[in-house]
Subunit: 222 residues, 2 copies
C-alpha cells in the first residue's frame, strides 16, 4: 500500500508517519520510485506499537527507539525487550525521604523480595519506586502500613500471572510488547478503580449502618 | 498544652495551625485568657488527620471539611464518612471517549459489578473512573483487554479485605479515616510497584533466556 493508505489503515496522519520514518521508529517501505514506497502489514503493526509506546506508555522517542532496537535484535530474549520497555514506563517517584527512612525502606523491600524469591534487578525503576513509597510512608509515620505488604504482593503475583498469560497469548512479538505497555498502564488504572469499589463494598458490610451490614465499633475489632 | 507545644508535638507550623483553626478544620482549644488557649491530644490527633487528608490525599480544604463534618456527626455511619473521603481522593479521569465507547464501557462495568454483587453508587468517582478507563481502552482498540477484568476484581477484593481489616484494627474513628486515606493512596503506589516487580519475575520465567527460564515461543502458548 502507499503512504496515504497506510495512514488510513493505521489512523496515523501522514506527517506523523514521515516523522516516525525519519526517527527510525518505523522501517522504510519498499522503494518503487524515487518519490514512492510501498508499505505492508508489518508497517501497520509497527505503527500500532509505536503509538502504544508513545501515546499510552508516554515513553520518550529515545526510549521507544531502544525498545524497537531490542525487539528487532534476534539476540535479545523477549524478557529483555519487556524489561527495556518497563524501564521506560512512568512510576511514582519520591525523593524527599531522608537516609534513615530510605534504609528502613530498602531493608523492608529486600526482605519482601527475597522471601518471595522474585527475580529483580537492584536498579530497576520498580524497586526504586517501591523503596521510595515505603520511605515516604516511614517519614510520615506510617511504617506499620507495611504490614499489608505481603497480602498486596500475593495479589500482585496473581495479577502478574494473568497479565503474562494474556500477553503470551498474543499472536506476534510486536503485539506482545504492545500488550505489555497497554496492559500495564490500563491495568494500573483498572486496578485502582476496582480496589476503590471493592473497598466501598467491604466497608459497607463492616462499617455500614441502615441495617445493611453488621455494625461494629471501630474500637471493638482487632 | 499551648499552641507552641502543639506545633512541636504535631510537627505542624504555628501559622498552619492558625489557618486550620480559621478554616474550621481544627476545633478550638479551651480558652484560658483572651490571647491563649489550651490544646490536648484530640488536637494532635486531628492535626495528623488533617495533614493526611490535605498532604497525602490531596483533598481540597472544602472536601477535607466535609469529611471532618461527617466524622463529627454522630448520625453518620463510618461507612458514610469513608465514602465522603473516598469521593475526594484523586483517580484517573478520562473524558475523551465517544458515546459508543462509553456505552460499551458502562455495560461492561455494570455486568462486572452486578456479577460480583458489589454494593456501589452509580455516581461514585470509582465507577466513573472504571468506565472512563474501559472506554479509553475500547477507543484505542484494546477492548479484549477486558478479559482480565475478572481476575483483577478477584485481586482487588483480596486487597480491599486486607485494607478494611487493617483500618478496622486502628484505635479511633479518626485514625480509621486517616488510615483509609493513607492506605488507599500509598497502597495504590505500592501495588503498582509490586505488580511491575511480579510481572518482571513471571516474565523471566516465561519469556527469559540464558538458561534461567523455560524459553517458549510467543506463538506457542494460548
Amino acid at each position: 500500500m502507499r503512504m496515504a493508505e497506510l495512514s488510513r489503515e493505521s489512523g496515523v496522519p501522514v506527517a506523523t508517519i514521515k516523522y516516525y520514518l525519519r526517527e527510525g521508529l518505523l522501517h522504510p517501505g519498499e522503494r518503487t520510485s524515487p518519490n514512492q514506497a510501498h508499505y505492508n502489514d508489518t508497517h501497520v503493526q509497527r505503527l500500532r506499537l509505536v503509538r502504544a509506546l508513545l501515546d499510552v506508555g508516554s515513553l520518550s522517542v529515545a526510549t521507544a527507539k531502544e525498545v524497537l532496537v531490542a525487539l528487532d535484535s534476534s539476540e535479545m530474549s523477549l524478557h529483555h525487550v519487556l524489561g527495556v520497555t518497563q524501564y521506560g514506563l512512568p512510576l511514582a517517584n519520591t525523593e524527599q525521604a531522608d537516609e534513615e527512612a530510605r534504609e528502613w525502606a530498602r531493608a523492608t523491600a529486600e526482605r519482601l523480595l527475597d522471601e518471595r524469591g522474585w527475580v529483580y534487578e537492584e536498579d530497576s525503576p520498580a524497586v526504586d519506586s517501591l523503596i521510595g513509597v515505603l520511605a515516604t510512608m516511614y517519614t510520615l509515620g506510617y511504617a506499620d502500613l507495611a504490614s499489608v505488604l505481603d497480602r498486596y504482593a500475593d495479589s500482585a503475583e496473581n495479577i502478574a500471572e494473568a497479565d503474562v498469560r494474556y500477553i503470551a497469548g498474543l499472536p506476534s512479538t510486536e503485539s506482545i510488547v504492545e500488550g505489555m505497555v497497554v496492559g500495564t498502564l490500563f491495568g494500573d488504572a483498572l486496578l485502582v478503580a476496582l480496589r476503590r469499589l471493592a473497598q466501598a463494598s467491604v466497608s459497607a458490610t463492616v462499617f455500614g449502618s441502615d441495617g445493611e451490614g453488621e455494625e461494629i465499633s471501630p474500637r471493638g475489632s482487632a
